[in-house]
Amino acid sequence: MNEQIDLLKKEISKAVIGQDSMIEGLLIGLLCDGHILVEGVPGLAKTTTINALSRAIGLDSKRIQFTPDLLPSDIIGAQIYNPQNHSFSIKKGPLFTNLLLADEINRAPAKVQSALLEVMQERQVTIAEETFKLERPFLVMATQNPIEQEGVYALPEAQLDRFMMKIVVQHNSEIEELEIMRKAASKTFGEIEAVLNKEDLFKLQEEINRVHIDHEIEHYIVQIITATRDPERFGLENLAQNIMFGASPRASIDLYKAAKAKAFLRGNDFVSPADIGYVIHNILRHRIVLSYEARAKGVHTDEIISEIIETLPIP
């Protein structure tokens, strides 16, 4: 089955140079039915990656550019009056897709963000009196620009919790950038072909479910999440003043699923502590709410996560 993953990665690499962490995050999200929040400056191939992934699996993809004047009906859809037969018909919004790129999600007002995040959680949309189930798979990759903070509506922590992972996308390395430059100039990016289909994807999801996770690892996951809520219990007194709120139960679930998916992507049929180490930062980064003191000191959630990992004994 890993051959399919390798094939998928190879196909995506025709259009996307580098950005392995983003691609892997998307795959984990796709395999775990989770959503991804990507933080990075513009121009880091976010849309390209979504499009490449959707085409490689034969899925539908759409992109919404979030703006301050966006309305919920713009993304969900609306009931439209038809004067010819004096009836209302449903016009579905761009949410009705498999892979959705919600670009600069923090530029839209809270009610639009809430509408989207509700759909992300429930995977169904209600327009007027009619409810529509969203087609599986449904993955939202939302982006945030970290450098422009004027005129944005920061996502509330409760809503951030609905994202399975928060990936910080970095610029490509110099070698990668050189390859991007040459390929873009010569227009030699390859055509993406569908190497998987939905059924293959569902099968992969089932296989992930079969990845073994030991009880000790499960306890280890719970301990990590608990340590974010009550660090003093684990001898992390110095973290207590930096954390306002710890991770939610969703974090445990997502870490559990992501660790299994990571182990699967690595070709293992069991989860090791290292798999948790690979995904822990992406899972918890946006779920730990820092205290004012910590923010004043410039403490980052990644540092807190690292300290927890270093402190808690691994199984």
Partner: protein
């Protein structure tokens, strides 16, 4: 002028040439024009070169119906030089009487002709009245009828001077020398004064040719004025001499001739000895405003080197801070310390997992393989690899 030869001759301007020559020989000239008469008078007929001759012209109006004026001058010539001494005029318009007095010096020997310019200007009472009536804002010249009168020239038989005569007249010579002892190249001021009556004693060259000393000369200071129909002059020659060694100024001998007394005489400045004292060259240097001794200026190199030194010191200081920071980063980086403190594989895996560093993935996988698989690893090697990747 001690004595004047005065002979008067009268000649009509319509008279013949032979009569005029006869009268000139008698040194009396009386001329008669239609409306006026004129009379030339010269005090000597045969002067020496540069001997003063007093020339007088008297103009007397004979036609009293007219208002008459005259313009008279002697024509310039290289044979003589002249200077007007005086003009005497009557105040009557209808009875003009004018006398011109000139002092004239012949400049060469032999026969020389003295020529004249005379313009007769006639006008009327009305014209003068109109001219006078014009106020200061409306001045008009008197309208006259000008008639050029051809006056006969006067001839002088000029006698030559004794040979090598430089001064003509009665002169005395004095001199002043400030000092006779001086240092090398020090100027010795000297003045020669020639004073007396006669042709102004201005000499082109006063000092003798002999001697290799340095001569400093200036334009002579001349003070001249007319007195008793002759010129009284005081001429001062400022001179300075300098030399590198003692020297003797040859006597200055000036030959002179006095036409009045027919006496030839010499004016002399006797030979002068000057003693020149040797001086050390360095004492001649201006100690106050003297420039620096000329030498190769290498101060720019010293300045440049000092700049380079300062720059290098600053650069190395900055570099040393950087080295120190890097070294302290390497030594004090908490991750390095943590890795170094790891005693077993699990603790190392923990630390490496916490870094979230993709570069450490191979190390993590090796540890994972050892801990949860069948892999065999060298713990210290993995530790070292991890440290190198962090550094």
């Amino acid at each position: 002028m001690n004595s004047l030869m005065k002979d008067t001759y009268v000649k009509s301007n319509l008279g013949n040439l032979s009569l005029r020559l006869l009268i000139l020989l008698l040194s009396i000239v009386i001329l008669h024009a239609e409306d006026f008469t004129y009379t030339f008078n010269i005090d000597k007929q045969a002067p020496y070169v540069k001997e003063p001759v007093v020339l007088t012209l008297s103009l007397n109006q004979t036609n009293h119906d007219l208002v008459m004026f005259f313009n008279f001058s002697i024509k310039k010539s290289k044979d003589y030089t002249f200077q007007r001494i005086n003009i005497q005029e009557s105040d009557s318009y209808h009875n003009a009487k004018v006398r011109y007095f000139y002092l004239l010096y012949p400049l060469r020997s032999g026969d020389i002709n003295i020529t004249f310019d005379l313009v007769q200007k006639t006008t009327t009472d009305e014209s003068i009245a109109f001219s006078i009536a014009g106020d200061r804002d409306h001045v008009e010249g008197i309208t006259t009828i000008d008639t050029k009168i051809d006056l006969p020239s006067l001839q002088l038989k000029v006698k030559p001077l004794p040979k090598d005569t430089l001064l003509i007249g009665d002169f005395t010579l004095t001199h002043t020398i400030k000092k006779h002892n001086a240092k090398v190249h020090e100027p010795i001021p000297m003045q020669v004064h020639i004073k007396g009556t006669g042709y102004p004693p201005i000499l082109e060259k006063l000092l003798p040719k002999e001697g290799d000393f340095t001569r400093f000369t200036e334009k002579p200071i001349v003070k001249s004025f007319l007195r008793n129909n002759d010129t009284q002059s005081t001429v001062t020659y400022p001179i300075a001499l300098s030399h590198t060694q003692s020297f003797t100024l040859s006597p200055i001998v000036i030959k002179a001739f006095d036409p009045k007394t027919q006496r030839a005489y010499t004016l002399t400045v006797p030979a002068q000895k000057f003693k020149i004292q040797e001086v050390e060259p360095h004492t001649l240097v201006d100690k106050v405003d003297s420039p620096d001794v000329l030498k190769e200026d290498w101060s720019w190199l010293r300045t440049l080197l000092s700049y380079i030194l300062v720059f290098a010191a600053g650069y190395l200081t900055a570099l040393s801070w950087k080295w120190k920071k890097r070294r302290s980063y390497k030594e004090d980086h908490p991750l390095i310390r943590k890795i170094q403190e790891c005693k077993d594989e699990k603790s190392l895996l923990q630390v490496l997992m916490a870094t979230d560093n993709k570069d450490l993935t191979p190390s993590i996988e090796q540890l994972e393989s050892s801990l949860y698989g069948n892999g065999k690893i060298k713990f210290n090697k993995i530790k070292q690899d991890a440290l190198e990747k962090i550094k």
